[in-house]
Subunit: 236 residues, 2 copies
């Protein structure tokens, strides 16, 4: 058991979210500077917003230079795609880890929805990434990573494959519970995007959401999903 624990530890401390290498010029996970770029870009984007964020400002934060940052990312758009991908990759890993051993399809989906919708907590296995703040960025900025004129080209190049893979996984879970439901893919995509949106509304437009201190996003989304599926047996 002790051996197993240390094996587990090794597995976990060596974790690395695998991101399409076309998104970056040089893998930021491969060097100290790269990690500082990622770490501090999260903090700075959260602080001043993506529009005001520049490589020049970031370079000052990390006592480096613009040109050094440009060796890792072509531009700030690619950096945002990278951060979003990292988030979804991390979420996918946690989702698979948490649902893998659950046999019951309904419980499995419930757990998956929990992982997706619950407030994010710091994950100690990635010390250069503050997942709590990254989640804030994903809520407020990540839509901008695909709402561009280049989306089709970048989609072809696989920039969004992690997100899509996560969507496929969830779609399968839904189909396993109710294969007769007509719009599993759309339900999944509205859940993924809608979850972020509800978190945003809760913070900035509380009058048009019921999600607040008393009602969690998890509760709303879980309810929404299961109200669309047959053969579910009440609340867990």
């Amino acid at each position: 058991m002790c051996a197993k624990f240390s094996e587990m530890e090794r597995l976990l401390t060596n974790l690395k979210v695998n991101i399409n290498s076309k998104i970056y010029l040089k893998d930021p996970q491969s060097s100290d500077l790269g990690k500082r770029i990622v770490e501090n870009s999260i903090l700075l984007i959260d602080k001043i917003g993506f529009e005001q964020f520049t490589f020049r400002k970031l370079s000052k934060e990390i006592n480096s230079t613009e040109s050094s940052i440009y060796r890792y990312f072509e531009n700030k758009h690619k950096l945002l795609v990278y951060l979003s991908s990292w988030y979804w990759g991390w979420l996918e890993y946690r989702l698979v880890f948490a649902t893998n051993s659950i046999e019951n399809p309904e419980q499995k989906l419930r757990k998956a929805l929990e992982i997706i919708t619950q407030p994010v907590e710091q994950d100690m296995h990635f010390d250069h990434i503050n997942e709590v703040i990254l989640h804030k960025i994903v809520v407020s900025e990540s839509s901008k990573s695909f709402l561009t004129k280049e989306v089709d080209q970048e989609n072809k190049e696989g920039f969004f494959s992690i997100y899509k893979r996560l969507a496929y996984r969830l779609t399968e879970m839904i189909e396993e519970i109710d294969s007769s439901y007509s719009h599993p893919k759309s339900l999944v995509s509205i859940v993924l995007e809608g979850t972020l949106h509800q978190h945003f509304l809760r913070e900035h437009f509380p009058t048009i959401t019921n999600c607040n201190q008393r009602h969690s996003v998890t509760e709303f989304i879980t309810n929404l999903v299961f109200n669309n599926l047959k053969e579910h047996h009440g609340s867990k």
Copy 2:
């Protein structure tokens, strides 16, 4: 009846979507140049995307100057807020017009969801606005109008009040059908945002949506909503 018709005509041809005057410096609906700015900004944003769009480029399109455009809008962000508001105001007007006389709550909501989710058609009453292209912009760009660091300040100033009013209207319709449903506001906001998102996915990420030639967004959203509400009596 002939008199009534011409009164109706007058009413309709004088239509003007009312937009919070804090969004603009000078009302673009008040002059020829203003209308050309709005008309051509829609076309140009659709053509090159909001990031690449500049007042300089727009000024060349309309054979005017940057400084003239700046007399109407402080910056391109405000112009986007304006265009989004116009869209939601126009939708609200059509929604009220179409649902006003419907007594049956379920039919009323069905009609409202139709208006919101159906592909947009050209409206002849506003000749300086191409509603079909405006809808494309709303799908791809309008999220950027509130995903900013200034959102709370701008919300206080009423920049998003038309959108929120539309959300309240829909929330009331839902509550009228099922007052026991626990998340009417969140359901409405996920429907409004989700509708745009499904249109986007249909165009750019067809593998994670069921909305396509065969399944309309209307069908998916209507289904989603009514599956969450009690006391509905099958399909219309």
